[in-house]
Amino acid sequence: MIFSLAIYAAPYTSQASDSAFRFASALLENGHTLYRVFFYQDGVHTASSLSTPQQDETHFTQNWQALAKNHNIDLVVCIAAALKRGLLNQQEASRYDKTAYNLATGFEISGLGQLVDAAVISDRLVTFGG
């Protein structure tokens, strides 16, 4: 089956981010396809390249990067939610004259339409909210 996930919660603040990652890992281990993970609302913070958890804490950003690279998963961050929360890629930083950008490699900024597209393409859409 083809799955997509929608993640609306920030990493660390609630358990949702961890639950989503474990679900993603399990579905892949069971031979299913993960088409897209859509980060919306505070979920966009997962895509920050500046995330610096302690050594003994889960590194969600890196975990998603590795999973996406190994399984060719589309990690999409909603542009509207990202910009207002200070998550910018190089293009948006340049557009808005910002001195820095922080979108982690492997994540892509795009519109809400990608959530709808995921719902249309996938057999199952599972939401993880905080």
């Binding site: 929608a6 609302q41 939610a81 809400l112 709808v116």
Partner: protein
């Protein structure tokens, strides 16, 4: 080329407006979906029914009022709008207090059936 049949997508909006971004984010997602030629429905339930109250004026809290936002739904051809009866009743909200005229008020049994008819649920 055969066109892929459209899916039935139900957006479920359960949070009150203004206190969190969930209500507005749900609405933005619904409006974005109108461009995708799918069979869209929207259900207001729990505190989500508060989004429908008329006479909202959110200027003093620097937010866009839902009383102004929601009436654009039909303009985006989102006409299948459901409101959970028991959520209204619990909050003592009557039909004439709602900002939208053409909503379908449905009870819990009907909500259960509505969910069962969908291809995807987008939970807000």
């Amino acid at each position: 080329m055969t066109k892929t049949p459209s899916k039935k997508l139900l957006f479920i909006s359960r949070h009150a407006p203004y206190g969190s971004s969930l209500a507005k984010d749900a609405l933005d997602a619904v409006l974005a979906s109108s461009a995708y030629d799918q069979q869209l429905s929207l259900l207001f339930m729990d505190d989500g029914v508060f989004q429908l109250l008329n006479n909202q004026s959110a200027t003093e809290i620097s937010q866009k009022s839902f009383s102004s936002l929601l009436p654009v739904l039909p303009l985006y051809e989102i006409n299948s709008i459901y409101v959970h009866y028991e959520s209204l009743e619990k909050r003592h909200i009557t039909i004439n207090e709602l900002v939208l005229d053409s909503v379908q008020i449905i009870d819990s049994t009907a909500v259960c059936s509505l969910l069962a008819k969908q291809d995807q649920l987008l939970s807000f």
